[in-house]
């Protein structure tokens, strides 16, 4: 610790390689992080970012290469050893037990004890302190995690990592589930940690964040390190070129001209989570839905799709009253829903790419004959959306997030739906794949579908939508044109009326 000259890197990984089932996922990767530094890691889906982070935190063991922590060579056999060595990690996926309290989750694996038993009072007190230190007093140590909203759960994750007193903190897409104003809170937190001398490895697909926070950026592509640059010397364009290996011309496809007729209408439609809503989805139009976490956007999509259906009011499709009571009815009526929780609700992970893509056709419109033609057309769709996989028979679990999302899209394209509900369609998806998905969404609208797109990412919401509605507390807070400003959306979402432009 007392080395005066060039400080040792807190964490240095050298020549790391890893393969799964004989397929190489990482090779010859070098990366390090210094005290007080934020080192960002970017790359396409499946580039190997999370795998690298899991090696650093003892979840996976590298096939080759070495790790040093504060100059000392270490071998981390499991997460416990990594924690002991001072490495904390916030995983890409939530890592919480919904049935347990916040305090129990935060101290899981490291419960303080007194006279041999868990000192629950100390645990709660420490948790309360930590929550206060990140400015999240609304979360209480005794709350059951399952009752918290997504953003609050992310806070719990962060507090959990902080409670380690980690010298090295890895954040794997910590903002993927956060809305923009919540991201600000996270920024503040990161800076505070930085000031404490903690070294941070920061994985994100949001380039803005990367530029805001980091001092260095490493780009991974296909499991190899392409480049490590000082953030000050980097430009987004150059970064994207490194990541995807080509130029990305413009971020968003052109918007629609004149919207078509109303395809879906809601009049006073509501349920336990939604206050009466009046809304139109028009054919040919992308309707953006903005709002904070928990504002009811997903609840709206899920009600339209019959998951938790409307219990009041009217819904019409093509002028005819409908009220889907199950996703099945909705699918058969021509509605499709791409969920925000790809792994939990979107995919059957042990099934093949092809079987997942065929799932809606088979489930909602089963038939005994003619399966061959259907399979052929789905194969074509998978090719058209450019799913990258070892083959259509590969289990979908082994695909990267972006490719998994494309499989879900292919599934719905096969149904030729007239109404598409996208819930955070590009969450956790790299810039290249993101652009492809944006193209697809726009293309669907252009072909006459009515598209509803929920997004917590304001640039995406503004870039894609022809029209925007903003939700707050389960109700529509207002409607905005497609070219509205970020401020306008935010003020409607938060209910601070002063800045609403006329």
């Amino acid at each position: 610790m007392d080395s005066p000259e060039p400080p040792d890197a807190l964490l240095a990984m050298h020549d790391v390689g890893k393969s799964f089932y004989g397929v190489s996922v990482l090779s010859n990767v070098d990366i390090d992080v210094y005290p007080g530094e934020v080192h960002a890691v970017v790359g396409e889906n499946g580039a190997g970012k999370s795998t690298l982070m899991k090696i650093a935190s003892g979840v996976h063991q590298p096939d080759s290469g070495s790790l040093r922590i504060a100059g000392e060579p270490v071998v981390l056999h499991n997460p416990r050893e990594a924690q002991a060595a001072g490495v904390g990690i916030i995983h890409q996926e939530f890592n919480l037990l919904p049935e347990r309290t916040v305090a129990e989750n935060v101290f899981l694996g490291r419960e303080p004890t007194r006279r041999g038993l868990v000192d629950r009072r100390a645990m709660r007190a420490r948790t309360a302190e930590l929550l206060a230190s990140v400015g999240a007093e609304t979360v209480r140590p005794t709350d059951r995690v399952g009752q918290l909203g997504v953003a609050q759960q992310q806070v719990v994750e962060i507090v959990k990592a902080l409670s380690l007193d980690a010298r090295i903190l890895i954040m794997d897409e910590p903002t993927a589930a956060l809305a923009d104003h919540e991201v600000e809170l996270l920024y503040a937190l990161v800076r505070r940690l930085q000031a404490r001398g903690i070294g941070i490895l920061y994985v994100s697909h949001r380039l803005a964040e990367v530029f805001d926070l980091s001092s260095r950026i490493t780009v991974l592509k296909d499991g190899r390190r392409v480049v490590t640059v000082d953030t000050a010397d980097a430009t987004p364009e150059a970064l994207v070129r490194h990541m995807v290996g080509r130029e990305l011309a413009s971020y968003y496809p052109p918007k629609a001209g004149a919207p078509g007729a109303a395809l879906v209408t809601l009049a006073g439609a509501g349920n336990g989570r939604l206050r009466p809503i009046d809304l139109e989805l028009r054919s040919g139009e992308v309707l953006g839905v903005g709002g904070l976490q928990g504002s009811g956007r997903s609840a709206l999509a899920r009600a339209l799709f019959g998951v938790e259906s409307f219990t009041a009011g009217q819904m019409t499709l093509d002028g005819k009253p409908v009220r889907p009571r199950s996703p099945r009815q909705a699918v058969r009526a021509g509605i499709a829903y791409v969920t925000e929780d790809r792994k939990g609700e979107g995919l059957a992970l042990s099934q093949s790419v092809l079987d997942n893509a065929l799932l809606a056709s088979r489930a909602a419109t089963p038939r005994w004959f003619g399966g061959g033609a259907r399979t052929t057309s789905v194969r074509a769709l998978l090719a058209a959306v450019e799913v990258h996989a070892a083959g259509v028979d590969q289990e979908v679990r082994y695909l990267s997030g972006g490719n998994q999302q494309k499989v879900v899209l292919a599934r719905w394209l096969a149904m030729a739906p007239r109404v598409l509900l996208f819930d955070e369609p590009t969450r956790g998806i790299d810039v290249g794949a993101k652009a492809a998905i944006h193209e697809l969404i726009r293309d669907l609208a252009d072909k006459g579908a009515a598209v509803l797109m929920i997004s917590s990412e304001l640039p995406e919401l503004l870039g894609m939508s022809d029209r925007i509605v903003v939700m707050r507390d389960g109700a529509l807070a207002g409607e905005l044109p497609g070219d509205a400003s970020e401020e306008a959306v935010l003020s409607l979402a938060t209910g601070t009326p002063h800045e609403v432009p006329a």
């Binding site: 997460p79 995983h91 890592n95 037990l97 009752q147 336990g272 989570r273």
Partner: protein, 328 residues
């Protein structure tokens, strides 16, 4: 950040079983009384509590396994085996009680260890692993024993026959085991890790819990409880009995008692208090039937219905709670 979490006293499914128990006692008491008997007479109370003891101790152990997301189908054979080990080691002599207890602890612990290792190191599903181990023990018992063997000294039979007032010593043992289990599950680090492992193995592992080790210890504890039940039965029967576990149906009945107590079969939710309720509920139902001299076959039918119905009611309440929460 928005908060819309409804905060109300938690209604646990483990409370449900106590409610059911209360109602069963009232209804059963009336039924038995109209039949001219008494459910709460000294004799029937004693034998009710007595019978709860054996199953109860096993069920406490099974609670550990189920909470951890596992399951133990070998307990019935462990009970038979340990009853024999106890009685044969004691061989009627007072001086050998302690060695016998140690032998039972060692053997049942070792079986639990094997179960745990099969599940964690060889990655065999708990259902199959413990079924296989059960078959192995069964083979050994059938090969070696044609009936009860060994004998227990009178001093050790106090455990099986003595009472404190109307409460059998064995029932106190059960409550003691349950109390220790409660502390372990709710207050120890191991207990926290156990529930986490059952709730989500990956989350627990990524949080630094040594889940393999937790599961191994869980199975050792579960087997030890079966061993204690074996000791109790040896004391009650005066000998070791190679079929007492299987004929008593301790495997499936202990699982039923745990689930009846509101512990979720998939793990991660529930507790030992519910299990105590579940065991008592089964015992009370049995006691009522005994008093009413209900046909043993019909009893079986009612038992099946009660188990399914109780769990269905918990599930419905849980679902309603979710809906209410959503509506709040």
């Amino acid at each position: 950040m928005t908060t819309l979490t409804a905060r109300r006293p938690r209604i646990d499914s483990t409370n449900g079983v106590w409610l059911a128990l209360g109602m069963t006692l009232i209804i059963g008491g009336i039924l038995v009384a109209t039949d001219g008997g008494s459910l709460f007479g000294q004799n029937s109370t004693v034998s009710l509590l007595q019978r709860a003891a054996g199953l109860g101790i096993v069920a406490v152990g099974q609670t550990f396994a189920i909470l951890a997301g596992s399951l133990d189908l070998s307990v019935a054979y462990v009970i038979s085996l340990t009853s024999l080990i106890a009685a044969e080691t004691m061989a009627g002599s007072d001086g050998r009680v302690l060695p016998a207890i140690l032998a039972v602890v060692a053997v049942s612990g070792a079986i639990g260890l094997v179960n745990g290792l099969l599940i964690t190191k060889l990655r065999i599903n708990a259902f199959i692993a413990t079924l296989g181990v059960g078959l192995l023990i069964k083979g050994y018992l059938e090969q070696g024993y044609a009936g009860p063997a060994g004998s227990v000294p009178v001093s050790f039979q106090h455990l099986g026959y003595d009472r404190v007032g109307p409460v059998p010593v064995a029932f106190l043992l059960f409550i003691g085991v349950a109390a220790v289990a409660w502390v372990v599950i709710n207050r120890s680090r191991f207990g926290h890790h156990l529930i986490a492992t059952g709730g989500d193995l990956d989350v627990a592992r990524l949080s630094g819990v040594r889940t393999d080790w937790v599961l191994i210890r869980t199975h050792v504890i579960c087997s030890l409880c079966a061993g204690i039940a074996g000791l109790y039965l040896a004391s009650r029967l005066g000998a070791g009995a190679p079929r007492v576990g299987a004929e008593g149906g301790y495997d499936l009945e202990s699982i039923a008692a745990v689930v009846l107590g509101g512990t979720v079969l998939a793990g991660g939710k529930g507790g030992v208090a519910g299990t105590v309720g579940g065991v008592l509920l089964l015992a009370v139902i049995d006691g009522i039937f005994n008093q009413l001299a209900v046909d043993p076959f019909f009893k079986q039918v009612v038992r099946g219905v009660v188990i399914v119905a109780a769990v269905a009611i918990y599930a419905m309440r849980l679902r309603r709670k979710v809906v209410r929460k959503a509506a709040a």
